[in-house]
């Protein structure tokens, strides 16, 4: 097959996307496909229209590639593509929207409040902040609504930290959420097709527990796959993850991030197009399930080509 690999783009996760893309191209070549590597830039649509690939493998992360934009263009061009469709991408990239959908579907997700910049600048939303302490408590987590990596995510230990954390989060998006901090084990469940892959546990080194950046580095974070969970815990985690995947309309593959608290799992977010680099969680989980990287890529292509009910 002729496969176009879309990578790069202008998002802050450009670097990760280039690494994901290179690895996917490599696997596709080994699988005997004709690979067309495409930078997501002003020429992308022209190249796609001229080359008419059988399918596009979207190896883009963050706004532009993971939010439905590239997916929409491919639909217009009539080219099949890997991973979730336009609507699922749009729901996943927006954490606020995703949390509303999750809650409506009865999937546990930590309590939150969302604000956009206009609310603070023009509507005096700062006055509403005082009411949050009772509802969310401290510490709380401040996040940009859109944005895939750790950038812009801050902990607020008390009121002193809140305005500053908001200014940081608003650097990435004009909508931010304040979320109740849930203490527990950090887990990621990747879903392939409609099948959950083994659960990965992310364990930051001592002292790094509030440092999100540490979680993305070899050596500073350890990953346990499959995570050591009791049968009941495992069932509850997988149920929540699959529930989230379906509630947001994902297809092909995605990754669900959760916290396993004392009273059960809470879904934090769903990554529509999770990283596919050497250190990414989805390939690790696939491997633990006995699916090597090339087979994973082939399976993702098959899922994209097969007509589905969604």
């Amino acid at each position: 097959m002729k496969v176009a690999v879309l990578k790069g783009g202008r998002s802050l996760e450009r670097g990760v996307s280039l690494r994901s893309g290179a690895r996917v191209e490599d696997a596709l070549e080994r699988l005997g496909h004709e690979v067309l590597a495409l930078e997501a830039d002003g020429e992308m649509v022209k190249h796609l229209a001229a080359a008419r690939p059988d399918i596009a493998f979207i190896a883009m992360h963050g706004p532009g590639g993971e939010d439905g934009t590239a997916q929409e263009l491919l639909e217009i061009l009539g080219i099949s593509f890997t991973g979730p469709g336009v609507a699922a991408c749009a729901r996943c990239i927006d954490k606020v929207l995703a949390k509303h959908e999750l809650r409506a579907a009865g999937i546990p997700t930590p309590d939150w409040f969302a604000f956009n910049e206009t609310a603070f600048r023009e509507l005096g939303a700062a006055d509403a902040l005082a009411g949050l302490e009772d509802r969310l408590g401290f510490p709380l987590v401040v996040k940009p609504s859109r944005g895939g990596s750790a950038l812009g995510i801050k902990f607020a230990e008390n009121w002193f930290d809140v305005p500053e954390a908001l200014v940081s989060a608003f650097s990435y998006d004009d909508r931010v959420l304040l979320e109740r901090f849930v203490d527990g084990r950090e887990l990621a469940v990747s879903v392939l097709g409609d099948e959950p892959l083994p659960v990965v546990e992310v364990i930051p080194q001592a002292g790094d527990s509030y440092d999100f950046e540490a979680r993305y580095e070899i050596g500073r974070t350890s990953f346990v796959c499959p995570a050591e969970l009791s049968a009941e815990e495992s069932a509850a985690v997988v149920e929540a993850a699959l529930g989230a995947y379906r509630a947001l309309g994902c297809s092909g593959f995605s990754r669900v991030d959760l916290i396993l608290a004392a009273d059960g799992p809470q879904v934090l977010e769903v990554n529509a197009i999770p990283g596919l680099t050497d250190t990414s969680l989805l390939p690790q989980a696939a491997e633990a399930a006995g699916v090597p990287f090339e087979q994973l890529i082939e399976r993702i292509l098959d899922l994209a080509m097969a007509p589905t009910g969604t």
Partner: protein, 468 residues
């Protein structure tokens, strides 16, 4: 053009990674955060006005001169120029180095000089010769961002001493040395960029230079003086380098051709007392045998022409205008809560914003407007500097500088407005109001009052914005 045949390396599976991870040396744990790396990767987009680099403007070097020199080398010394050279460097290169140092009043013994692959290698080789894991290295706060990974990779414990308008606060240094004495520890060396410091742009005063050299001599401590910018002075009187004041007993000197000729030739040097030099030479042998023979020939030809000082003068004029343009733009486009240094030479201005602005996050926002800078955190080992930024004025033309500063100023303004919307609200919580009072002292964490009185002057940065 067809691509040469190549093999694509099989990518590592996670079990391979696990295996590699088990092999990594302890020192690899101190790598910079990947989030920051990804952020900096985005600054490389061609449409971005980058005030982030530390690039000299090589476009001013005459191509005819370059061509003539390389032609002469090819015609007259092809075999030698393509051959290995001595580890210490050619004596002709050392002669050029002695000439450059002479221009700043220094008289090194040519035998004390080693040619290195940029000043960066000199720092690396000195650490290699001097630093064991856990040893203390002292440097300025903020310090050259490129020195931090070197100190970290040798697993030094880096202690940073606050700077003000007169450079490193020597009283604070003395307090630190006393404290280390009590703990029974002795720093391996004190690293300083005393002239037009990277990143802060400040220059150490003569009095402080004298005190630093006295401390080094009386305590028998080594000072590493890194001086890439000394000849790029736009105004004020030149000050004697530490090396000159000390005579080369306790001050080790690091120099480079990068900022006065070309960084592409990768040539720098170190000057150290013979016992230290001996170890540095051994270290260099292990590292790369010798620095580029070809570019050492180029330097020799270039200096033989005798116009190197003229070229530096032309660079100095160019950079002076660019500094002026950047300062003018800062005054015009940065809000009154911002402050910055006004260097008399070098390549950098250090700007500081109110304490509630994290410049790493600000960079993400600025990148959407296609402009980049170095977040201040990169100049500290301990997470300080979050509300500061390094701005380079040598690598862009005046129009680019003005536009870049205008765009950064706009995003800063937005952050300031947002913060005040968040905190000035009538019924917003009292603690948020308390935080705002910190705005009276923007910048680096305040040192003790006693310290401030002893050294005089404000800790970096100064308030320069109009109406501030």
């Amino acid at each position: 053009m067809s691509e040469p045949p190549h093999r694509r390396r099989a990518h590592a599976s996670s079990s391979d990674l696990e295996r590699y991870a088990g092999l990594f040396a302890e020192r690899t744990r101190v790598m910079r955060s990947s989030a920051m790396r990804d952020l900096m990767a985005v600054t490389a987009r061609p449409e971005v006005i980058s005030l982030a680099g530390g690039l000299p403007d090589t476009s001013t070097f005459p191509p005819q001169t370059f061509a003539a020199q390389m032609t002469r080398i090819a015609q007259e010394s092809a075999a030698e120029a393509l051959q290995y050279g001595p580890t210490e460097g050619f004596s002709e290169t050392v002669d050029c180095i002695v000439e450059v140092m002479g221009a700043e009043g220094m008289l090194p013994d040519p035998d004390d000089v080693i040619v290195t692959t940029g000043g960066q290698q000199a720092i690396d080789l000195l650490c290699k010769a001097l630093v064991d894991p856990g040893d203390v290295v002292i440097c300025e706060a903020p310090t050259y961002p490129g020195a931090i990974p070197v100190f970290c990779s040798y697993q030094a414990e880096t202690i940073q001493i606050e700077c003000d308008g007169e450079g490193m606060r020597i009283a604070e240094l003395e307090d630190t040395l006393e404290r280390l004495d009590v703990e029974g520890r002795r720093p391996k060396f004190i690293y300083s960029v005393p002239t037009f410091q990277n990143p802060a742009g400040v220059t150490m005063s003569l009095a402080r230079r004298r005190r630093l050299v006295e401390i080094a001599r009386s305590r028998e401590l080594l000072v590493v003086e890194d001086n890439p910018y000394g000849l790029l002075r736009f105004g004020g009187e030149p000050l004697p380098p530490l090396y000159q004041l000390d005579g080369g007993d306790f001050v080790i000197y690091v120099g480079t051709f990068s900022k006065i000729l070309s960084p592409g030739i990768r040539l720098g040097w170190a000057v150290a007392p013979p016992p230290v030099m001996e170890k540095v030479v051994l270290g260099k042998q292990a590292a790369d045998l010798c620095s580029s023979t070809l570019t050492q020939y180029f330097v020799r030809e270039y200096f033989a022409e005798g116009r190197w000082r003229e070229y530096i003068e032309s660079l100095t004029e160019l950079y002076r205008d660019r500094r002026d343009a950047m300062i003018e733009a800062l005054r015009r486009y940065f809000p009154p809560q911002a402050s910055w240094t006004e260097p008399e030479g070098g390549l950098f201005i250090w700007a500081t914003l109110p304490p509630y602005i994290d410049t790493s996050d600000l960079l993400a926002k600025a990148l959407r407007d296609d402009v980049a800078f170095v977040p201040g955190q990169a100049a500290y080992v301990d997470g300080r500097g979050r509300n500061s930024m390094r701005l380079n004025f040598s690598g862009s033309g005046e129009d680019g500088l003005r536009e870049g500063i205008r765009r950064i100023g706009r995003v800063v303004e937005e952050q300031v407005e947002l913060y005040s919307a968040l905190t000035n609200s009538a019924t917003s919580s009292a603690p948020a109001q308390a935080k705002e009072s910190d705005m009276d002292s923007p910048g680096l964490p305040r040192p003790g009052v006693a310290e401030s009185e002893r050294d005089g002057g404000d800790v970096l940065p100064f308030r320069k914005a109009e109406g501030a």
